[in-house]
């Protein structure tokens, strides 16, 4: 009885709304259970599992070469970096010496992947905020990178270009030319992105001060990648534990201390410039040599535990392999960045509006298959 009376007495009542699993801005099958008071969010409960494919379990029956191609299907926007993570772990276990050429090529393609991922993210971010035109511009430029990938790796999205020990095949003769053309092109187009969204007053209003999360919270939730660096958490694995060729290139780790949506946006915008800077340094200096170290046809990791982390476009991806000296791993665990980043959503979204939630999710750059695996 009492609740009814409060309703009558102009009190508001909280209600639930299911955002997803089919919703335009969850970008996949993520279900968010929102507790709302009018338009104001009181609580966000992510419900996952709609796209769970038990990749970790599948890995337990696959050979090490086959595991690599499964990771394409986790965070499909940084598939090359996922592949690289598995390969690095296996190579670490085998104590393989990797040719320099492979390291440099891997780094270049990783950075291209990061660029492509951020371009797509930028477009989608615009679309989530209602500027659909940006989406098309983002895709227009990403298309050129996928062309580079298609020519060298043979696929546009699920590339599977890495194999334990090196690369599947050597780079295409056109690779360097195309990449340089792309860089020249994109250096002209990036300012366009900034003019269209970054400086726009509506965009600033929609992102500045919205979705704040402190550095402490970021660390305790394990938010990594650009989302973590937007709160001043220096977590770039490329700097902390350089792998491949990151130890020989010069680049800045982008840090913003504001911790709001705008800061996370700016981190990615600046990271695009840094990625281009990294590629600039390497593209003309690809050492000659083999594109693959010699490996046995059947790889058996010595019994033990191996962990390797890399920096994907979304944050820290950890690959943990327990081997019992068979041709398949005993157990594989992926520490995916999306999962941890999503966990911070509730803290960020409390007290914001539905529209802010959409902007926040965009700046977290969630890829749902990465969360569910």
């Amino acid at each position: 009885m009492s609740t009814e009376q409060t309703v009558l007495g102009n009190e508001t009542q909280e209600y639930f709304i299911n955002m997803g699993p089919q919703h335009p801005s969850t970008h996949g099958v993520l279900r968010l259970l929102l507790t709302l008071d009018g338009e104001i969010i009181r609580k966000v409960e992510p419900h996952m599992g709609y796209i769970h494919r038990s990749i970790e379990k599948m890995c337990e029956k696959d050979s090490y070469q086959q595991i690599v191609h499964l990771t394409d299907r986790m965070d499909y926007l940084s598939c090359h970096i996922n592949n690289e993570a598995v390969c690095l772990t296996v190579e670490m276990g085998l104590q393989l010496e990797i040719p320099e050429r492979v390291k440099v090529i891997r780094t270049i393609i990783s950075e291209l992947t990061r660029l492509a991922s951020h371009q797509l993210w930028w477009g989608v971010m615009g679309m989530d905020l209602g500027a659909i035109t940006g989406f098309l511009y983002g895709f227009r430029d990403r298309e050129l990178i996928t062309d580079i990938f298609e020519e060298t790796c043979g696929a546009r999205l699920t590339m599977n270009y890495n194999v334990p020990g090196g690369l599947m095949f050597d780079i295409h003769p056109n690779f360097q030319k195309r990449t340089k053309e792309f860089l020249a092109y994109f250096k002209k187009k990036l300012p366009e992105y900034e003019e269209l969204l970054t400086g726009n007053v509506i965009f600033e209003e929609r992102t500045k001060g919205i979705g704040y999360i402190s550095k402490e919270d970021v660390i305790s939730y394990g938010v990594t990648g650009p989302s973590g660096r937007g709160s001043g958490f220096a977590c770039d694995i490329r700097k902390l534990h350089p792998y491949s060729a990151y130890d020989r290139v010069e680049f800045k780790e982008i840090l913003y201390n504001e911790g709001d949506s705008y800061a996370r946006y700016m981190v990615r915008m600046d990271e695009m410039k840094e990625s281009m800077h990294i590629i600039d340094q390497l593209i003309d200096n690809i050492p000659e040599g083999d594109y693959k170290a010699k490996t046995k046809a059947v790889i058996k990791l010595p019994a033990g535990e191996y962990y390797q982390r890399v920096e994907t476009a979304r944050g820290e991806l950890g690959v943990y392999i327990i081997s019992d000296n068979k041709k398949s791993p005993y157990r594989v665990k992926f520490r995916s960045p999306g999962f941890s980043n999503l966990s911070a959503l509730d803290t960020m979204a409390k007290g914001c509006k539905i529209a802010d939630l959409v902007a926040m999710m965009s700046t977290l750059d969630l890829v749902i298959p990465d969360i569910d695996r």
Partner: protein, 164 residues
């Protein structure tokens, strides 16, 4: 004084806002008046000029030469390399007409296109380079069973000299 400053700020904000909006409009306006920059293509119409990159992975094919001979020995390396059971090698016993010994030869190279993830592992696993990736990509059919293909041509034989 403060009021004047506040009013100045108020209008300053408005002008800044309008300026930022106009910069955005400049970009979209530029593209509107430059239809040459349109990037989309009209797909089925440009089929003839559309050329895929030579490494593009469209589907697995077994290479046959003009004598209807292929290089697949039926060793099943590709079947083992495939992560998802896309390839099934069905072998048969064959009596070699010259030596009279019975050898293994492929009867059917079954390829389930619907299960293939185009990972290229089978291609690099093949010791005799018998298979390759074709650049076709128009795979849609009305009946799923059409996606299960037998890759070796009827009556095709192993190229001589491969087994050694």
């Amino acid at each position: 004084m403060r009021i004047i400053k506040n009013i100045g700020q108020y209008f300053g904000e408005i002008f800044h806002a309008i300026k930022s909006l106009l910069t955005g409009m400049k970009i979209t306006g530029y593209y509107f008046f430059h239809p040459k920059e349109i990037v989309t293509q009209q797909y089925p119409e440009n089929r003839d000029t559309l050329k895929m990159f030579d490494r593009f992975r469209g589907e697995v094919v077994l290479i046959h030469d003009s004598n209807n001979e292929h290089r697949c020995t039926g060793c099943s390396a590709c079947e083992l390399a495939c992560p998802n059971g896309t390839i099934e090698i069905i072998n048969k016993k064959e009596i070699d007409p010259e030596t009279g010994k019975s050898t293994k030869a492929i009867d059917q190279f079954v390829y389930h296109l619907s299960m293939c993830t185009f990972c290229n592992l089978c291609i690099i696993a093949c010791p005799t380079d018998a298979i390759k990736m074709a650049q076709t990509f128009e795979h849609s059919v009305f009946d799923r069973s059409k996606l299960t293909k037998v890759l070796n041509n009827p009556g095709s034989k192993l190229m001589p000299g491969i087994r050694e």
